[in-house]
Amino acid sequence: MASLTPSMRQFSTCLRCVRQVPSANGAQQRLLSSSAAAREEVRAQPTASSTPPPPPQSASDASAASVQEVPEFMQKWGKLDPETVENKKQERRLLRREGVQPVGSRRRRAALRMSAVRKTEEIPFEQLPYQCFQEARKFLQEDRQEKLKEIKTQQQRIQATAESNASVQSKRDRIARMKMHLNDLIIAADINDPVVKRKFEDGQGDMNKPIYRHLAEKKWREFKRKVLEQRVTQLSVVPDLLGSLDLVADIDLSFGRKTVAPGDFVESDISEKMPTLHVQTFTPGEKLVTVAVVDADVPVPQEDGFTTRCHFIASNIRISPSETSIPLQRIAEDDRKSTDDKKVALPWVAPWAHKGAPYHRLAVVVLEQDQAKKFDVSKLSTIERDGFNLRSFVGSQKLKPLTATLFRTKWDESMAGVLERAGLKDQASIEFKRKRVEPLPYKRRTERMR
């Protein structure tokens, strides 16, 4: 027991008082919350239940790539298992070295680790010997069966409506309504399932299934979307670049490994390379999207106003609920190699700002292409960058804005170098200074004014 970390020791004592099953009784000690995970593992690899399941595909790729150049100090951290890391330090190290999020709650990971230490027998979820628990499960099962039956009848109803000889208009409306109800039923059938809940919380939910999409969207709308919406409106992306925008997909923006919160200032040498987007859609099916990066604050000193500039357009990018990543850097590289299947219409121009000028907002907009039709990229590449009008672009290409985010740029130390590399060296020698507003002419106080 001395080898255990303090948090675990507490947990074990706690468990002991909950369950007074002495090991002398013949039955081995079991843990309350370890079994849920156990079932999954038992199915996957019946021999070694304590070893972790393979991490998700992308994560394993990342870790495999980074294995070669893991620094020495990181190797000293030892083995870090996403299933058993249990304090903040270890979690941070895991994220830093392996790039993997820990699984489940800290409490559960502690329990898992305990069971591994004690070599307890893992009981499948269904066979847990708690009467109340099993009764509750039975109840939920019954409810699920009921819902499944309803789904079947609803499907039959839809079929019957489709075959009936009502008018096309009324048929379409009724079927749409019935399908909405069907979707609700499908969600309701699974929403009380503890396994579903656990998998979702572990981030292992299959986004091709409606229930996980539903849960993810609910979670997204609870906080993240609100923040994004606030940034997009308060930083005036919405009236300046687009008339209106209903955010329907989650978006994450990152330059290299550095994630950028919506509206953050990004240093110019970092934004010289293209960002990576993660766009999580919550509606089924694949979509073709166009990504546009537009600067909304290009100063025009002659007119004493602002104009826009397009920094990047890429089209025909495939996304789906399970394929969320849009690595623009890689897309551009692939584009350069291949002759057919072009994606990049306007190549990346590093965001830049004049010295002393007010900050530039660079909006990253993800636009869904109409009916997933492919664009002819060569036609798009004739678009004028300066004075780019996103509204008319969206209108003429029949695009539908899915989501948007933004970052900001202003003059910094590395900007001069960025401008030189972009071939805009003459712009680095221009500085912006506040224009003096002429005061109103002084009015003499006359007798009438007194």
Partner: protein
């Protein structure tokens, strides 16, 4: 003259058949009814009004000095940033486009343009706003989903100097090589108009805050004071003592030093 009229109802009541004698209490009742019935019966009431006000007013003075509230700029008038458009107590008006609230809810312009008084039901159904339209022909409120009308307010000029230069590090406030040299504080350019009249007296002098900023403007950096650095302290105090000695010598240069008096030899 007065008395008979008052007594008239009494007489009337008394004139009821003399044979019928009322008890004394009933008589008074009868008197009362007779008196009360007549509306015209005047009553004698003596109120003495005060000739002088005895105490202060209950609810305070009603008519203090005016606070000069209200519109300072009318609709359509040209304003520049900082101009106060409306003074008010509370928020009768709210700041709209290119305007802000002041400390006392006064509304001032943040852009130069033309004043507009308007309502914006999409923003708030009841509030009335004061805004500044950037162009004379603009109407407020601007349409909701149109790009904002904004002004750059900057001019592009060639870059004059970088921050790297002109960093004078001053050692113990001994500036530069001396007066007239490049690094001297006196040589740094100053705005000519900074001279303002002081509040009292006739002398023109710079404001105190401007004097306090002099070193900052000249980019002077003083060596940091390190508490407990005895070596520097000793050096400085020594230098001061030496300077004082020098000064004393200079001061006394013209004077004859008093010779010590000769001791008179006692005979």
């Amino acid at each position: 003259m007065l008395l008979p009229r008052i007594l008239a109802p009494v007489r009337a009541s008394v004139q009821i058949p003399s044979t019928f004698i009322l008890p004394a209490s009933r008589v008074i009742d009868a008197l009362r009814t007779a008196n009360g019935a007549s509306a015209h019966a005047p009553t004698l009431s003596f109120v003495r009004h005060s000739a002088h006000q005895a105490q202060g007013r209950a609810n305070g003075a009603k008519d203090g000095p005016g606070k000069r509230l209200g519109a300072k700029k009318s609709g359509g008038e040209y304003v520049i940033p900082g101009n106060i458009i409306f003074r008010q107590r509370g928020t009768h008006w709210f700041p709209g486009e290119n305007c802000k609230f002041g400390r006392d809810h006064c509304i001032f312009a943040t852009e130069s343009g033309y004043v507009r008084y308007y309502k914006d039901p999409l923003k708030h159904p009841k509030r009335q706003y004061i805004g500044v339209a950037l162009e004379k022909d603009h109407q407020l409120p601007y349409p909701r989903n149109a790009p904002r009308a904004r002004r750059l307010g900057f001019v592009a000029v060639p870059v004059t100097q970088t921050e790297a230069e002109a960093q004078v590090v001053v050692n113990d406030l001994q500036v530069g090589e001396g007066p007239g040299s490049d690094s001297s504080i006196m040589d740094t350019p100053r705005p000519a108009k900074a001279v303002a009249k002081a509040k009292k007296g006739y002398a023109f002098r710079e404001a105190n805050w401007a004097i306090g900023r002099a070193a900052e403007k000249a980019n002077v950096q003083v060596k940091k004071f390190v508490p407990g650095d005895r070596w520097t302290a000793w050096r400085k105090s020594n230098a001061r003592i030496q300077a004082n000695i020098e000064r004393k010598k200079l001061r006394n240069a013209g004077k004859k030093t008093a010779k010590p008096k000769k001791r008179q030899q006692r005979a």
